[in-house]
């Protein structure tokens, strides 16, 4: 029905002052509970805009490292081959944004119905395919040691086809490999891919290296806690059918023991520990109620006397400080969720999401966005958020999405 109510509720004097457009707006059909959006998908491959795109989907995962994307077309494009650039722009009219750029690595044809899947990945994937032909000795390259961010940049520098902005490769700033007897732990062995080498550094420092939707390689601190401030909220009005949640304590631990480099002096690896307490396991500092988590990395050069807590004075990463960070990640109720949504904003790993779905998913708290999947097909746009959380919030500002 027309909205004549708004005419009736105004005086003749006021109506006289209205423009025709005011009147037209007044008698226009009343809006229903519907949001309409024009969605679009544009794919450019090898510099040519494809005109036969059926659908596309992509994913960015903080643990996966590089973004992936699949574009489905009716036939192999006349122009372009593997290693050419693929760029996908998609979304509603207010958020028609670049969702992926990378290189085509594979064509996957189907005979019937005839179609071909163009598979692209971010260039960081090259790091998983390149390894040095012979051992690289750390102390020959970095006689006085190097920070973890410098080492990651150095590893990326070796990989053909990979570019990055140095300012986007963050790190602890701690000089590694400077302790006498420890540098061999940082040697880059022949056959170890650049990605594996970077992952060893990431694991020891609790940072993650990944590539975003624009192809920027970033290294940021990502642990299992959300920031104090959410970047956006996902409520029932955003959540589509198929959302699931998971709360569990099987992996909850109230004590963390970290082992680092073994200098071969008979004292064993450097070590450190941290304890916490929770309602059902009790106090982790007491042996009787201890539920331990073991973490080891040969790149941790320093530690403390596990009984006295006295620091050994060695440079590099400290096992006790790593333990202090990990305890917050495990002394908690683990919370996970997978949430499909119609939301088409530009989102990405590392953001803090307030999942406001206590009634439906038993989750009403800030969570960390770990993976982000999107899909555009003949039913429009959907995104799926992979969220992890639990524990306490902390000051952990997110990287750009």
């Amino acid at each position: 029905m027309n909205g004549y109510g708004c005419l009736e509720s105004n005086s003749y004097g006021l109506l006289e002052a209205w423009t025709y457009a005011d009147l037209e707006a007044c008698v226009a059909p009343e809006p229903g509970p519907v949001v309409l959006r024009d969605v679009s998908l544009s794919v450019v491959f090898a510099g040519v805009t494809l005109t036969d795109v059926i659908s596309a989907r992509g994913q960015i995962d903080a643990d996966g490292g590089w973004p992936t994307c699949s574009v489905f077309v009716t036939a192999k494009p006349a122009t372009g081959n593997e290693e050419d650039t693929l760029t996908v722009t998609a979304g509603g009219q207010l958020n028609t944004l670049q969702r992926f750029t990378g290189r085509v690595r594979r064509f996957r044809p189907s005979a019937f119905p005839k179609s071909i899947e163009i598979v692209g990945t971010g260039t960081l994937a090259y790091a998983n395919e390149w390894a040095p032909a012979e051992d690289t000795y750390f102390d020959e390259t970095f006689p006085t040691g190097a920070t973890d961010q410098a080492l990651v940049q150095w590893a990326l520098d070796q990989v053909p086809g990979v570019t990055y902005t140095a300012a986007n490769i963050a790190g602890t700033g701690i000089t590694l490999g400077a302790a006498a007897g420890a540098p061999e732990a940082f040697d880059w062995k022949a056959g170890t891919t650049a990605w594996n080498y970077i992952q060893q550094l990431d694991r020891a420092t609790l940072y993650r290296t990944y590539q975003d939707h624009n192809g920027e390689i970033r290294r940021v601190k990502m642990i299992g806690h959300p920031d104090f401030t959410e970047d956006f909220r996902l409520g029932p009005e955003h959540i589509l059918d198929g959302a699931t949640g998971n709360r569990y304590t099987e992996q909850t631990r109230n004590y963390v023991h970290v082992r680092g480099h073994d200098y071969g002096d008979g004292l064993g690896p450097v070590e450190g520990s941290a304890s916490g307490a929770n309602d059902f396991q009790g106090d982790g500092s007491a042996t009787a109620t201890r539920h331990g988590e073991e973490f080891s990395s040969d790149l941790i050069e320093s530690g403390v006397d596990i009984d006295t807590g006295i620091w050994d004075g060695s440079p590099g990463l400290r096992a006790d400080q790593i333990a202090d960070e990990i305890i917050n990640d495990v002394n908690k109720e683990f919370v996970e969720a997978t949430v499909p949504s119609w939301r088409d904003n530009l989102d990405g790993p590392g953001q803090t999401v307030l999942l406001d779905a206590l009634a439906r998913l038993a989750i009403g708290e800030k969570m960390w966005l770990q993976s982000y999947q999107w899909e555009f097909n003949d039913r429009g746009w959907t995104a799926t958020y992979g969220l992890t959380g639990g524990g306490l919030e902390q000051d952990n500002p997110p990287p750009p999405p």
Binding site: G32, R360, W381
Partner: protein
């Protein structure tokens, strides 16, 4: 006469009681029986069909989100004697042909405004 207008394009047609029906759903659906006096009437309405669209229905309260993938999208549907509302023309059919290019068919609308 009835009409369906999307932007600057308007199609006028004669809706018939026979063949018209309504159905409930996430959004109300309205099928109108239609009499096309001339082929041009069919063509005018055909140009306003949205053939690909997706309806996202959040699990909780909140707006239903409709993605218009292919076609002009929502417009104003005005039915003589019933009123008007916003709608998407999702399908059009001609099933009966008579002399002098006159045809009968039906049009399916997804009501995005106030139900009528």
């Amino acid at each position: 006469m009835s009409s369906f207008q999307v932007g600057a394009s308007t199609a006028t047609f004669r809706s018939t009681i026979r063949g018209s029906r309504q159905a409930s759903g996430d959004l109300p659906q309205l099928t109108l029986g239609i009499y096309f006096p001339a082929h041009a009437d069919w063509q005018a309405l055909l140009a306003l069909v949205t053939s690909k669209y997706g309806v996202h229905v959040p699990v909780g309260a909140g707006s239903i989100v409709i993605d218009i993938v292919r076609g002009p999208g929502a417009g104003t549907l005005t039915i003589d004697g019933l009123g008007s509302t916003s709608a998407i023309l999702t399908a059009l059919e001609r099933s009966t042909y008579t002399v002098n290019n006159r045809t009968f068919g039906s049009a399916d609308f997804l009501i995005t405004g106030t139900p009528i």
